[in-house]
Amino acid sequence: MFVDTKSQRRASARAAPARRFRLGESRGAMGLLFMLPAAAVLLLFLAYPLGLGVWLGMTDTRVGRAGQYIGFENYEMLWTDSVFWTSVFNTLLYTVAASIAKFALGLWLALLLNRHLPFKAFLRAIVLLPWIVPTALSAIAFWWIYDSQFSIISWSLTRLGLIEHNINFLGDPTWARASVIIANVWRGIPFVAITLLAGLQTIPPSLYEAATIDGATPWQRFRYVTFPMLTPIIAVVMTFSVLFTFTDFQLIYVLTRGGPLNATHLMATLSFQRAIPGGNLGEGAAIAVTMIPFLLSAILFSYFGLQRRRWQHGGND
């Protein structure tokens, strides 16, 4: 008796939503409805500007004046523009040097934080600070640290007897390049370290125990256990790191504005300088568009990194 009524009730309850499901809640319509807000914003302010940027790159638009189609003239001009090529070289140097340093130091820091430590959570929290605070504001701190007269680094090195004169950190082209790369590495290390740390924590301790019992040295444990287990996360983190370093703007803008002698101009800062203060929107957009192939290759690299990950999962599980 009791069982009967219960099953009946269940059956009638099931019938009602099923009918409603057919009427008003077809997945396609509901999906469309729920996607609408996000899609509207992204199409209007992301996809459309992306296309508009490519179009602007082929016009001679200036601030306050609509442009005319001029084909590839902007690109032809850039091709013979030595400042543009300097900025391409700087961007590649900046990205490669900073990414390698961030990876090496970040991995090292992650390995250190993965060991037995007191105040583990606290340490992890303060390590993330450089990543949290606004880049423009920490760049101001670096601006002061790199001051030509009152640099604390110059002062300390002089007191230690290592240098005679103050280093002109942001005034000398070579020093300026090194300085902005160091500032970028400083900001990027926490992200790489904390993400790799999460990867390290998913590696089963039993693997290390087995390796230790088999007589593996610490280096062998790192090379043959840690590193292979970590490669998928390394691929993801480094893709992000490369993308963000390649398109960096704030740090350069605050520290050097591209100077001295364009030695630190990145493609992003050059495109800003030509487009907004220079008023030449078309040319700036063209420079921005030339960044796209580089970004696409970085994304493809990450895609293949993820492909390998699936294969690895099959092998590891």
Binding site: G31, R124, I140, A198, I203, E209, I233, Q250, S271
Partner: protein, 296 residues
């Protein structure tokens, strides 16, 4: 997933730590770790200490040790608060960040639910497109966006920022929430469906309460990202009263060739504090979701 991470953490991460001698541990662990911490935190110390130095102390390294403040002063902070528009910038940044965060969270919750749970036709490709949208950097979008902002008459208003910040917030939040929704058992929703709840009811009454930690971390992320945003705010805003903190400090506190280092550092410090404090309250969420999002 969270549980698994905790348990792995509790056990020894690398098998034979206890076999290590103390001197070896000092050299391989403590010295590098302290160096790392020193380098990573020194700029903040320097920022803080400069903000409280008087000008004679600031430029006189022979009579005063640069690493310490002998006569702390509030002059720099006073100048910052009462002789610049700094409080206004703080207010602007707060307003823009909060509004764009909530706007993005709303869009992201709907989108993540649609992609992850409604699984409409093509949901997979939409998810991929959202991920790709996250990879589009602001530095290639700001020029066309600037021309749009001009055209729509939004130039030099907060709306220019409130409407453009979601372009990088929505993809990120959606991506994060998709991962979070996936970790909530689908059976709960099935039960609700059987009990006759509509999709909207399920989202509001079942899924969202369970996803509160995910919503908090997405919200913090979005707030920090918009607080830290620079290039759009620099391009779309001209008048001093509309500027955000990072842009205001960089562009307005330098008068010609006179650098008021004390006020600059105080400005940088107070501009960093809100995000640092917010984040210190929710650091566990933050780290967990950051690493969770990347792991996915």
């Amino acid at each position: 997933m969270g549980l698994f991470r905790k348990s792995a953490e509790a056990e020894a991460p690398s098998g034979a730590d206890f076999l290590e001698s103390i001197p070896r541990r000092v050299v391989t662990l403590w010295i590098p770790l302290i160096l790392f911490l020193f380098v990573l935190l020194f700029p903040f110390y320097w920022m803080g200490i400069t903000a409280f130095k008087s000008n004679e102390e600031l430029y006189n390294y022979t009579d005063f040790s640069p690493f310490w403040v002998v006569h702390p002063t509030l002059d720099n902070i006073h100048r910052l608060l009462f002789r610049t528009s700094y409080p206004q910038w703080l207010l602007n940044t707060m307003l823009v960040s909060v509004v764009s965060t909530f706007l993005s969270l709303f869009c992201a919750v709907c989108a993540a639910y649609a992609i992850e749970r409604l699984r409409f036709k093509g949901a997979r490709y939409v998810g991929l497109a959202i991920f790709l949208a996250y990879l589009v950097p602001p530095s290639i979008l700001f020029i066309p966006l600037a021309s749009m902002v001009f055209a729509y008459g939004l130039f030099d208003t907060k709306w220019a920022l409130i409407l453009t910040y979601p372009t990088f917030l929505i993809p990120f939040c959606t991506w994060l929430l998709m991962g979070y929704f996936r970790s909530i058992p689908y059976e709960l929703e099935e039960c609700a469906l059987i009990d006759g709840a509509s999709r909207l009811q399920i989202l509001v009454k079942i899924l969202l309460p369970l996803a509160v930690p995910g919503l908090i971390s997405a919200g913090i992320f979005a707030f920090t990202l918009s607080w830290n945003e620079f290039i759009y705010a620099l391009t779309f805003i001209q008048s001093s009263e509309q500027k955000t903190v990072p842009v205001g400090v960089v562009t307005e506190l330098v008068e010609g060739d006179v650098y008021h280092w004390g006020s600059l550092m105080a400005g940088a410090l107070f501009g960093s504090l809100p995000v640092a404090i917010l984040y210190s309250f929710f650091v566990e969420h933050y780290v967990a979701s950051m690493t969770g999002a990347v792991k996915e």
